[in-house]
């Protein structure tokens, strides 16, 4: 058992060491915001129209917020959902006002015609179009596809834009009535592209639904091409028809399939970034366009999801926002650790006082439980991104007491067995058999509490429940794989086996009466007279105890008392075996 425990710890250490060497894990557990400092926002998504939010929409919301936060240049942001209703955004430091506004805003999806497209890289300063040759609008733009939208400023912006290394300072929402210069980020099978887009023509809210499927060929046979289908509502259908009529002309004029007029494309824009810019191959009159070309099942699903999300704008209400200065966080951690250490020290002193040398087993067990918990938290921090919060630290500190309880239950059972007059080796075995049941039953209650709280509760409560559950498991491992095997070994040593005064298992101190007393005399259960002591009368109890040995004549009297008092009086062998 001890060997297995060693193997377990070594394995966990090796895993963590491997992770650390690979540069992904770290020896220190990851800290949550309340200890590290930073901002945590808890957002409640609100669907326009007031209907409830589905899990799918919530996941989309997280994806959207993640994109926005990453786009705003904040590193190491963490976004997660909470109990299927809230979105938690954790950012280091204090976010700019614009970032906050951006996070809160509802998703902004719309369709804009493409005016000009180009390779993603910025045009080098030297080869940029000279001032004089910049395109100048000759008239007011007639429609959204009109090249007259391109002013010298817009064009300069377009040339300078670097989509390969997008700058992340853009935090303002674009004006839907004005042209937009933006990027389509690089994807697996296409490089980044930059665009000048015309004003918004169809809004995302005009999308009724979207889906994806394998494309059907002319004969209705399923091909290997994935396609995304959009269905517009009535207003969207009318508008989209108008747009495609115009765009199809560019397509036809540009030579159909082989043409390269970017104005045949319309861009699907989400939060001012192009997610797709298909060409209009036909005039869509029924409001059911199909987008095809180079999709994998995954990318088709992603686009379809994004479109659907655009169809259902979700905005976010900040439910709670907490900005914790790094000073306060660090202080909290220090104090938490200090409190934990003091608590631990007190526990050590108390268990040495109570259990003498046996107390060292408690301390060693606590240390091992601590090591296991630490390793588990560090590994989970790496693999599951678990972060230790202040509530988690509190959970750990509280766990010291509950972990030590397993040992107390066990030791008390051993002492009970010694009181029965057993030798230490068999007392350890018998005590363990009984203690095991109790420990398992009580830890089951603890684990149940931890699991239920973890899955049902929100926020801080989860971090707390997590460490509580984790330590309960660590405790079980330790008591089974360390404490018990250690005691089995110790029971065979002279110091413990013979019940040294400081071993904490001295049969004499425990008042044990050996079952076998030599000379063929075996103690019978009621060998000794029954003495009953009334509660709250310890003085009299001590006196009664002293007198008892010399006053056996009073036995009858005392036994009468026993009946009247209706108390649990018994002999030295009050145990299951005695009955």
């Amino acid at each position: 058992m001890l060997v297995w425990l060693g193997v377990l710890i070594a394995a966990m250490t090796a895993v963590l060491a491997g992770g650390t060497l690979a540069g992904q894990a770290s020896w220190a557990p990851k800290l949550a915001l309340d200890l590290e400092g930073g901002t945590q926002m808890i957002l409640a998504p609100k669907v326009e129209g007031g209907s409830g939010i589905t899990e799918e929409q919530l996941n989309q919301a997280v994806a959207i917020i993640r994109q926005r936060v990453d786009g705003s240049g904040v590193a190491e942001a963490e976004i997660s959902t909470q109990s299927g209703r809230n979105v938690v955004v954790s950012l280091p430091g204090t976010p700019a006002k614009e970032t906050r506004a951006l996070i809160q805003a509802s998703a902004d999806m719309n369709f804009r015609p493409v005016l000009q497209a180009g390779a993603g890289a910025a045009v080098p300063e030297a080869s940029r179009t000279p001032e004089a040759q910049l395109p100048k609008p000759t008239a007011a733009p007639a429609n959204s596809s009109d090249q007259n939208w391109i002013t010298p400023e817009i064009y300069k912006q377009f040339e300078a834009l670097d989509c390969d290394n997008p700058s992340q300072d853009k935090q303002q929402r674009s004006d839907p009535t004005k042209p937009l210069v933006t990027c389509e980020p690089a994807s697996a099978n296409s490089p980044a592209i930059k665009y000048i887009l015309g004003p918004v023509e169809v809004k995302g809210s005009n999308i009724k639904s979207s889906s994806f499927q394998l494309q059907r060929g002319a004969q209705g046979a399923v091909t290997n091409e994935w396609a995304v289908n959009i269905q517009f509502d009535d207003a969207g259908t009318a508008k989209f028809k108008e747009v495609t009529e115009r765009l199809y002309q560019f397509y036809a004029a540009g030579g159909g399939q082989t043409g390269s007029d970017p104005r045949a494309q319309f861009a699907i824009v989400l939060d001012d970034q192009v997610i797709s810019a298909p060409r209009s191959l036909a005039v869509i009159t029924d409001g059911r366009p199909q987008i095809t070309g180079g999709f994998t099942e995954e990318s088709a699903k992603a686009l379809s999801d994004q479109l659907r999300f655009g169809a259902l704008p979700i905005s976010f209400e900040i439910q709670s926002e907490q900005q914790i200065s790094a000073t306060l966080g660090g202080e909290q951690l220090r104090m938490g650790m200090l409190a934990g250490l003091i608590g631990l020290l007190l526990v050590v002193v108390y268990s040495l006082f109570q259990y003498r040398a046996l107390g060292f087993v408690t301390v060693a067990s606590l240390v091992i439980a601590g090591v296991l918990t630490f390793l588990a938290i560090a590994i989970l921090g790496w693999t599951e991104n678990y972060r230790l919060s202040l509530a988690g630290v509190a959970g750990l500190i509280v766990a010291i007491g509950q972990t030590a309880d397993s040992f107390i239950v066990y030791f008390e059972r051993i002492r009970d067995e010694l009181r029965e007059g057993r030798g230490l080796v068999s007392a350890v075995e018998n005590g363990w058999k009984r203690a095991k049941r109790t420990i398992l039953a009580s830890k089951a209650v603890n684990l149940l509490a931890a699991v239920v709280l973890f899955f049902v509760a929100v926020g801080n409560v989860r971090g707390f429940a997590f460490t509580l559950g984790l330590t309960a498991i660590a405790d079980l491992i330790v008591v089974f794989m360390f404490t018990h095997p250690t005691l089995q070994l110790l029971a065979r040593t002279k110091f413990f086996g013979e019940g040294h005064r400081f071993s904490g298992l001295d049969p004499k101190r425990l008042g044990a009466v050996p079952l076998y007393r030599g000379a063929g005399r075996i103690r019978t259960p009621e060998d000794k007279p029954v003495a009953v002591v009334r509660a709250k009368n310890t003085g009299a109890a001590a006196e009664a105890e002293r007198r008892m040995t010399i006053a056996e004549r009073r036995l009858a009297e005392k036994q009468e008392q026993a009946q009247q008092a209706q108390l649990a009086g018994s002999s030295k062998s009050a145990s299951k075996e005695g009955k």
């Binding site: 104090m335 009580s442 509660a535 209706q566 062998s573």
Partner: protein
């Protein structure tokens, strides 16, 4: 005091025995009064001192302040938002806490700046929090839901493990008493009820049940073949089990309460109001009350629930009969009983 192991020894053999079961009416009465007070005091005081998470509003915490003058904080707030009534408190050492009604972003930033200047600290030492009034309620709702599920499952678990629903019921009653009294202490002490306090509260309930399971397991062991025994009545066996586990109960309580006490006093003394302190008060009270409730309420209640069972009434009669016979035997001038 006698040596603790001797004490444990005497409790184990029954030489020293505290009559927990016999005086159950007194304990129940005391518990009843305590629970009634726990309900009445918060009502009389006009409810709990709810934390900002439940009221909603903005909160600033300033660490390492140069002076702890509350007027500075008030001024910093009223300069930005005229007519507001901020609650400024020196929560610990050099930490100030300023609570206001809900502020806009601009106001928050301005006040933060004002506080930084007023207390002569750097920007890093001012923490601001905004909480919507629904947030705390949300946390509590989920916590209560968790609690209900946990209690239900724990009751089933215990009923299955102990094979009697009466143990489940007794354990739950003990837990409910603990719950009320712990809440009552919050009402009395004016500690803020925050989500952290709720966490502590939930832990107390799990601890309370945990503690009860340990004691009940000993009761189960002692009473498993009660029918075949005429040594003690059921109630006496229960009482003996409580006494036999008394040293464990005390040791566990002490060991559990030491780290919690460390948090409570360090949390309260050095760090001021915060997660740690809120959590630890609930735990501190709850562990004390929970341990006591197991001994004084749950176990005696279990004995009381069971002792009316016909089988156990018969068994109690057999015990009386056996004792009467033994008494008759020893009444005659014979040798000491070896029955």
């Amino acid at each position: 005091m006698v040596n603790f192991s001797t004490f444990g020894n005497e409790l184990y053999t029954g030489k020293r025995s505290y009559d927990f079961v016999g005086y159950k009416k007194i304990w129940f009465l005391v518990a009843g009064i305590a629970v009634a007070l726990s309900i009445l005091i918060p009502i009389a005081k006009g409810g709990f001192n709810l934390g900002i998470e439940f009221r909603g509003g903005s909160e600033f915490t300033v660490s390492n302040v140069k002076t702890t003058d509350a007027a500075l904080g008030e001024k910093a707030v009223t300069e930005v938002v005229a007519g507001s009534v901020p609650r400024v408190a020196n929560v610990a050492g050099t930490t100030m806490r300023i609570q206001t009604d809900k502020l806009t972003d601009d106001e928050t930033l301005q006040i933060k700046e004002g506080l930084t200047k007023a207390y002569g600290v750097t920007d890093n030492e001012v923490t601001s929090t905004f909480v919507g009034p629904t947030w705390g309620a949300d946390v509590t709702k989920q916590a209560l839901l968790g609690l209900a599920i946990f209690v239900g499952l724990a009751a089933v678990l215990m009923a299955l493990y102990f094979r009697t629903w009466k143990m489940s019921l007794s354990a739950l009653v003990g837990m409910i008493v603990t719950m009320f009294i712990t809440a009552g202490v919050y009402g009395l002490s004016d500690f803020e009820v925050t989500p952290s306090a709720i966490i502590g509260f939930l832990t107390v309930l799990s601890y309370s049940l945990y503690d009860t399971v340990v004691v009940f397991d000993k009761i189960r062991e002692n009473t498993s073949d009660i029918q075949a025994s005429t040594r003690r009545t059921f109630a006496e066996e229960v009482n003996l089990a409580i006494n036999q586990t008394l040293v464990r109960s005390i040791n566990t309580m002490v060991v559990a309460i030491l780290p919690v006490g460390a948090i409570l006093f360090i949390g309260a003394g050095l760090l001021g109001a915060g997660t740690l302190r809120d959590l630890s008060l609930a735990l501190f009270v709850g562990i004390l009350v929970g341990t006591a409730a197991t001994i004084f309420i749950a176990a005696p209640l279990y004995a009381w629930l069971r002792q009316g069972e016909p089988e156990l009434v018969k068994q109690a009669k057999r015990v009386d009969q056996r004792r009467a016979e033994a008494a008759a035997k020893t009444a005659s001038p014979a040798t000491p009983a070896t029955a």
